[in-house]
């Protein structure tokens, strides 16, 4: 038995935010049925082409799609066809949760609004995630991750102190997916206790604003408007990335107290420059931080990053080597914990996926299968779940409902 055994999800999400959330539910044992269509293709099935980097590829051969959709089932269904909407409604009747991340109002326009779904299944839990949420003067506005990163206040405080705001990639999307999963799980607990379902309206902008809450408090209490500050954190010093031996290898060092500074100084062999009085105490050290950073960088650059991490951690200093695309594959800690898993994908062959992102002792989450091919589970969903006959499925197929 798994954590979410018996929970079935009708998953209308696409791109990155929603699918990351429903992949968490799938890893915990929910049956997640992705409803998708070639007519309105999930952008994760053709990311590079969408951005104009490549020609249009095979929709069943997207590495990106496989990374965010493992363990799900796929029903290909054309929701611009009334017969497709009809099938979707029959599916909802067999589900516990419905989730989408379309622009606000799209589900209602398609004929799958909450009041309709509620009539089909009174205790259904419906979660919709959108840029500004479902109500308010900007609810019809378009929103992608960089846009809610900007509108939330996070972009303005991201970046070097002397640079424009930094553009943040997909994690702004995926963390919204985390909140989608979180809200659905809250509603499942509530339904378990009360028997009641409900509608959940999630705002991506509000999700991201919540991740910089203390900046809003500085404004509320002091009238301050926080600015970009690069790698600084308050008066912590030294506090930065320092170069190590090799191509684009770095170590982060974060010193909060004078005691930690003395530990770092000792680890460096107490060089003459480091025992100068202006570096001894926090405030003075912080005032001379640029000079200090330059000196430390001269020391770190002769070390292998991993070796230096070990040396500084032994000395009681918060230090860690940077990890990127290559290191995530080779790092001994990540390997020993086994974050990267191999799955056999019918068209891509052996593929590496990430996860599950947490462990549970009694019901361990797991990656049970690769991402689905487009419409791979049509027969299962239509016949086994909905009880259609093979002839009825063939008819839908011939009518183009399963495109």
């Amino acid at each position: 038995m798994q954590t979410l055994s018996g929970v079935r999800v009708a998953d209308f999400t696409w791109a990155l935010a929603g699918p990351f959330g429903t992949s968490l539910l799938a890893m915990m044992g929910a049956e997640v049925i992705k409803i998708e269509s070639r007519k309105k293709l999930d952008s994760a099935r053709h990311v590079a082409a969408l951005y104009g980097w490549t020609e249009e590829p095979d929709v069943d051969k997207s590495v990106e799609f496989n990374l965010v959709n493992p363990g799900k089932l796929s029903l290909s269904l054309d929701l611009s066809n009334p017969k497709g909407v009809d099938i979707a409604k029959r599916l909802v009747a067999c589900c516990d949760v419905v989730v989408d991340n379309f622009s606000a109002g799209v589900m209602a326009r398609v004929g799958l609004g909450y009041p309709v779904l509620c009539e089909i299944k009174p205790d259904i839990i419906v979660a919709s995630s959108a840029y500004s949420g479902q109500q308010g003067p900007e609810s019809s506005y378009l929103g992608y991750a960089p846009l809610f990163h900007a509108a939330s206040g996070m972009a303005y405080v991201s970046g070097y102190e002397d640079s424009p705001p930094a553009y943040n990639r997909g994690r702004t999307d995926t963390i919204v997916g985390g909140v989608v999963a979180m809200a659905i799980l809250a509603a499942l607990n509530h339904r378990q206790r009360t028997g009641k379902g409900q509608y959940i309206d999630i705002s991506s902008r509000e999700t991201i604003s919540g991740l910089i809450g203390h900046f809003f408090m500085d404004y509320a209490l002091n009238g301050n408007i926080p600015a970009r500050c690069g790698n600084e954190e308050g008066l912590l010093c030294p506090h930065n990335c320092y170069p190590c031996r090799g191509d684009d290898r770095w170590i982060t060092i974060a010193v909060a107290t004078d005691q930690e500074w003395r530990a770092l100084r000792a680890a460096m062999g107490n060089p003459n420059w480091a025992i100068e009085a202006r570096f001894a105490e926090r405030e003075s050290r912080w005032q001379h931080r640029k000079e200090l950073d330059a000196k430390i960088a001269l020391w770190t650059r002769d070390f292998e990053a991993e070796q230096l991490t070990n040396l500084l951690q032994e000395a009681g200093v918060s230090a860690m080597h940077n990890i990127g695309s290559k290191e995530v594959v080779s790092d001994p800690h990540i390997r020993e914990r086994g974050l990267l898993k191999e799955v056999e994908h019918p068209k891509l062959g052996k593929q590496v996926v990430f996860g599950p992102p947490f462990r549970m002792s009694v019901t361990p989450p797991q990656i049970a299968a690769p991402s689905p091919l487009m419409g791979e589970h049509n027969d299962y969903v239509l016949q086994d779940v909905l009880g259609l006959t093979p002839d009825e499925v063939a008819l839908l197929e011939s009518q183009g409902v399963l495109d």
């Binding site: 990351f20 991201s158 553009y167 990639r169 909140v179 206790r193 509000e206 974060a254 918060s318 990430f354």
Partner: protein
């Protein structure tokens, strides 16, 4: 207090400093759980000592970070290093549904803290360890602050673009990776609660913040593991657009689909240059992104960010202002959803706090209470849960246990 929330009736014990565990506790508390925060009797949560502070000067009750992360909680103090304090902690553990904590494995061992022993006495108990690198593996006892965590999870490469190549990798603002990890932990805990509701069985959760954050970036980081090129900072972030200066700040423009491009060209007054064949296709525009950017820069520098945001969005063009905190607070959209709520705190008075990013149709919004003063709820909690009386509490205060 906990009537009506999704987690009504669930009692959580929180032992953690700074951001990840406290934010996880706040998320659970916002959903209706009864949250009991345990702090050290003298300095309290480390966040109490972090600036900025209300009105500038350092004060345990005036840290912006602490005030935000600890709303809707009860606060007790307890010295876990003291034998009696430890005994009281284990007594509390028998009376709760969930414990969330951020102790390193070596710290837990030194305290004699054994989750399975706690579960033996309280079989439905859910324990959640939220640490930088998890409870197993060679780095399990490594200490990490936010910048260490952020850069250990592929995140320095999230900021890509030529302007970053020759500089040190950049961290996310504030405590981004810690905040994000709390969302993963909160989800895992609620999944475990759901399983317990079905079976009565509790369990342990081990969340490595590093693994959670790596997973958030799997779509980029995983390409190399699958034979693709590594994501490096010199990769272009977008074919064109992105952050563009305007008259009073910056806008973020994301033009991907053909119809968005066509609408943008029209909104810019249909400049003849954009009818050039080079810009007719997605691939053409990606190839000539720099040239497009030059034209966009000339156009947007004459615009006011808020005005052009509404003007272009109303024509179906994906754009947003790069908002400062005061502009977010003033946003009519957020105001229409009552995102910022006023909470009065005894030491800093009334202030507008960011609230929750979801609205549940079947649940009332929680009436928020301010972060607890250090030890504010000692008497209430220790009397109600442990049955201690006033003389016993006095003696615990005198010996520094609480």
């Amino acid at each position: 207090m906990s009537t009506g929330g999704a987690l009504a009736g669930i009692r959580v014990l929180e032992v953690g400093d700074m951001v990840a565990v406290p934010y996880c506790g706040k998320l659970l508390a916002d959903l209706g759980a009864e949250l009991i925060k345990v702090e050290h009797p003298v300095q309290g949560d480390e966040a109490r000592g972090r600036g900025p502070f209300a009105k500038g000067h350092s004060h345990l009750e005036k840290s912006c970070l602490f005030l935000y992360l600890n709303t809707n909680k009860l606060g007790v103090t307890l010295d876990l290093a003291h034998a009696q304090g430890k005994a009281m902690f284990f007594d509390l553990a028998r009376k709760v549904d969930v414990i969330i904590e951020d102790k390193l494995p070596r710290e837990k061992a030194a305290l004699g803290w054994d989750d399975e022993a706690l579960r033996h006495e309280n079989p439905g108990l859910i324990t959640a360890s939220i640490t930088a690198f998890g409870e197993t593996g060679p780095y399990k006892n490594y200490r990490a602050r936010h910048i260490n965590l952020y850069q250990s999870a592929g995140d320095g490469l999230v900021y890509v673009g030529k302007e970053y190549v020759d500089r040190e990798p950049l961290q996310g603002p504030g405590y981004q990776a810690d905040y994000e990890s709390a969302i993963g932990a909160c989800s895992a805990i609620m999944a475990a609660l759901f399983f317990r509701g079905n079976t009565g069985i509790g369990q342990h959760i081990d969340l490595s913040k590093q693994e959670w954050c790596l997973s958030l970036n799997a779509m980029y980081l995983g390409k190399y593991a699958n034979g693709g090129l590594p994501v490096i900072r010199s990769n272009p972030a977008l074919p064109f657009g992105g952050v563009i200066p305007c008259k009073d700040g910056y806008v973020m423009l994301l033009i991907v689909e053909n119809h968005h491009w066509q609408r943008l060209v029209k909104a810019m007054g249909d400049p003849p240059i954009f009818h050039d064949d080079r810009f007719a296709t997605l691939m053409g525009r990606a190839k000539h992104g720099e040239e497009i950017n030059r034209h966009l820069a000339e156009f947007f520098v004459q615009c006011n960010k808020e005005e052009i945001y509404h003007q272009l969005q109303q024509q179906g063009i994906p754009i947003a202002p790069v908002a400062t905190v005061d502009e977010v607070v003033a946003s009519p959209q957020l105001a229409s959803r009552d995102y910022f709520v006023e909470i009065a705190h005894p030491a800093v008075g009334k202030a507008l706090y960011p609230s929750v990013p979801y609205r549940f149709s079947g649940l009332p919004r929680r009436a928020d209470r301010p972060a607890p003063l250090l030890g504010e709820h000692n008497a209430e909690v220790y009397e109600r849960l442990l049955g201690l009386d006033e003389p016993e509490l006095r003696s615990l205060r005198e010996t520094g246990v609480i």
